[in-house]
Amino acid sequence: MSEHNEPTQTDIAQAHGEHAHHIVSPKIYVVILLALLVATAATVWASFLELGIWNPVIALAIACTKATLVVLFFMHVKYSTKLTMLTVLAGIFMFLTLIGMTLADYISRAWGQW
């Protein structure tokens, strides 16, 4: 059943079943690489500006865009099943719950009495 001659592009895609394994072309990888490099430069440059409260916000925003680029394209989540996307979102949601609800306690301590 498994042929051993040099498979063509279509054979490989077919052998892996059409839905799952979309092979991401190197062109996309290069574009994403450049985007990430530019974003890194941007975040470093932004940190040298005096923006007060906006500094951490921008730094985190750029970091999040870089992370989403890596997740979607390098980790193929854009091309994989809904289940993988759901797992990633579940992880992020639980990460934010841990941080959010713990910080909720620390931030609201100043309001009430001790």
Binding site: G91, M101, T102, A104, W111, W114
Partner: protein, 557 residues
């Protein structure tokens, strides 16, 4: 066969244990220690779990003996502190968290969904080795002087004011945590990816739903206690100042990280038990579980809500009053699915054809005790009464009602229910029914007085107490002896049944699960050919039709 039982065994004179099964396939110590077969790993877990259960139980016995008298006279107070710490650690990390998932879950989930094995068999074996590594490290800790920080590692006590081996205990819990993560990870992947054709999500048995929910908790919550332990270890050795108030750290941050895991951990412990109870009550009432989707979704709801409630362990620890509101409200929401499940189980028996074998008696015990345990949880979730009741014996009674009354009863019910499938032999009925009733009585005698002690304000973890609490403590210790007997009996007659038990045949309970449609003890690859799930779950009509067909085939031959 007497009318009042559904047990249908093959004719004992001719019945034999099937020649080819997962136990006889290969033998020798290596075939067990390097097995990938989920059933053998389940047996390995069952043996090591029972070992740790009896060590934890012995420590519990010591605690109860010490509390017979108001003075700390049986042992020195720091020995008592080490005894209750080890009791807590061994019971939580080495019995309650892995018990039902690692034994019954490992054994049954692949069979229930029609798969040949779990998705990652080598990771499953690694999970058992991590469990044994953690367990032996814990025993090493006990041997070399124990640890007296309580199983909750409260900082700054555990980091600066105690010189017992906190590090080795932390490492043991850290490793056992990964054993739990890998089991949970294995279950989620198997349930998602390896279901038999036709097995949709709503044809999954509730046992599988409950383990799916528990696995989500295992995978997402356990790493947070792993990092909390690493931080405690570093704080203790290098003094990084993350939890040390003199260096600007906040000890309450440890409480947040610790309870973020430890509350979902109690749902990791109880959800698999609920899965067992759904199967048992459905089989012995001969009826589909009442409100199947409600029970399935309430399992998942418990798992999801379980993540948002952890600070109800910290209401009086100085977290802000407003976050107490938030966590108390969410605790009320997480209590509702448990109530839904109890009522659904009760109504499963409506218009059923009920028989009272041992698993069902344990299930009745579970229903009663879990209802009390669950309700007293609401006492502690309500911020008002929590002020008076927290950190007293009320809490000890609450979690023992839920863990020992709930989870352990479910574990024993499951062990008795699937014993024929795991070993091919039936357990002795009469003595096991007696053991179940003895356990129920002993349990109530032990832990009900502790509710009253709790309202009286007797604090937890006290070696000596004011004299007016003595009577209730004496009742509790008396109950503990009965409970001890109740737990010893199953070991005796189950081991006895391995040799002398009746041959069980494929389906002694005439149950509808896929695991009952194959031989017992099952083949290594579970099914001769891949089962097709063409019928619904808990489909007793389909089972009758199946038995009619077999009768015709038998009579035609």
């Amino acid at each position: 066969m007497s009318e009042s039982t559904i047990v249908k065994l093959p004719d004992q004179s001719t019945a034999r244990i099937p020649k080819m099964n997962y136990l006889s396939k290969e033998n020798g110590i290596l075939s067990w220690l390097l097995t990938g077969d989920h059933k053998r790993i389940a047996i390995l877990y069952l043996i090591s779990l029972s070992f740790f259960f009896f060590i934890g139980g012995a420590l519990a016995g010591l605690i109860r003996l010490e509390l017979l008298t108001p003075q700390a006279d049986l042992m020195a107070t720091d020995t008592y502190n080490k005894v209750f710490t080890m009791h807590g650690l061994i019971m939580v990390f080495f019995f309650l968290v892995p018990s039902v998932p690692a034994t019954l879950g490992n054994f049954l989930i692949p069979m229930m969904i029609g798969a040949k094995d779990l998705a990652l068999p080598k990771i499953n074996l690694l999970s058992w080795y991590l469990y044994i590594a953690g367990g032996s490290l814990m025993l090493y800790t006990m041997a070399t002087g124990g640890v007296d920080t309580g199983w909750t590692f409260t900082t700054p006590l555990s980091t600066h004011y105690v010189n017992t081996n906190v590090l080795t205990t932390g490492l043991a819990a850290f490793i056992a945590g990964f054993s739990s993560i890998f089991t949970g990870l294995n279950f989620i992947v198997t349930i998602h990816k390896m279901r038999a054709p036709g097995m949709t999500w709503f044809k999954l048995p509730l046992f599988v739903w409950a383990h799916y929910a528990a696995s989500i908790l295992m995978v997402l919550a356990t790493p947070v206690v792993a990092i909390a332990i690493v931080l405690v270890a570093l704080e203790r050795t290098i003094g990084i100042g993350v939890f040390d108030p003199t260096k600007g750290g906040d000890p309450i941050l440890f409480q947040h990280l610790f309870w973020f895991y430890s509350h979902p951990a109690v749902y990791i412990m109880i959800l698999p038990g609920m899965g067992v109870i759904s199967e048992v009550i459905s089989t012995f009432s001969r009826k589909r579980v009442f409100g199947y989707t409600a029970v399935a979704f309430s399992s998942v709801a418990i798992a999801v809500f379980g993540f948002f409630v952890w600070a109800h362990h910290m209401f009086i620890m100085g977290i802000s009053n407003y976050s107490v509101l938030v966590f108390s409200l969410l605790t009320m929401l997480v209590a509702v699915p448990s109530a839904i499940k109890v009522f659904n189980w009760t109504f499963t028996m409506y218009k059923g054809s009920i028989t009272f074998e041992t698993p069902m008696i344990y299930a009745f015990g579970f229903l009663g005790l879990f209802t009390i345990g669950g309700m007293t949880g609401v006492f502690l979730g309500t911020s008002g009464t929590d002020i008076h009741l927290t950190e007293t014996y009320f809490i000890v009674a609450h979690f023992h009602f839920v863990m020992v009354g709930g989870m352990l009863m479910a574990f024993l019910s499951g062990i008795h229910f699937w014993w024929p499938k795991m070993t091919g032999r039936m357990y002795p009925e009469k003595i096991s029914q007696l053991a179940a009733v003895v356990t129920f009585i002993g349990f109530n005698f032990t832990f009900f007085p502790q509710f009253i002690l709790g309202t009286l304000g007797m604090p937890r973890r006290y070696a000596s107490y004011p004299p007016e609490f003595q009577i209730l403590n004496v009742f509790s210790t008396a109950g503990a002896t009965i409970l001890g007997v109740g737990y010893l009996l199953p070991v005796l007659y189950l081991v006895w049944s391995l040799k002398y038990g009746k041959i069980a045949g494929n389906n002694p309970w005439q149950a509808t699960g896929l695991e009952w449609q194959t031989q017992s003890p099952p083949l290594t690859e579970n099914f001769v050919k891949m089962p097709i799930m063409d019928h619904d779950v808990y489909d007793y009509e389909w089972l009758e039709a199946q038995q009619e067909k077999e009768k015709e085939v038998a009579s035609a031959r």
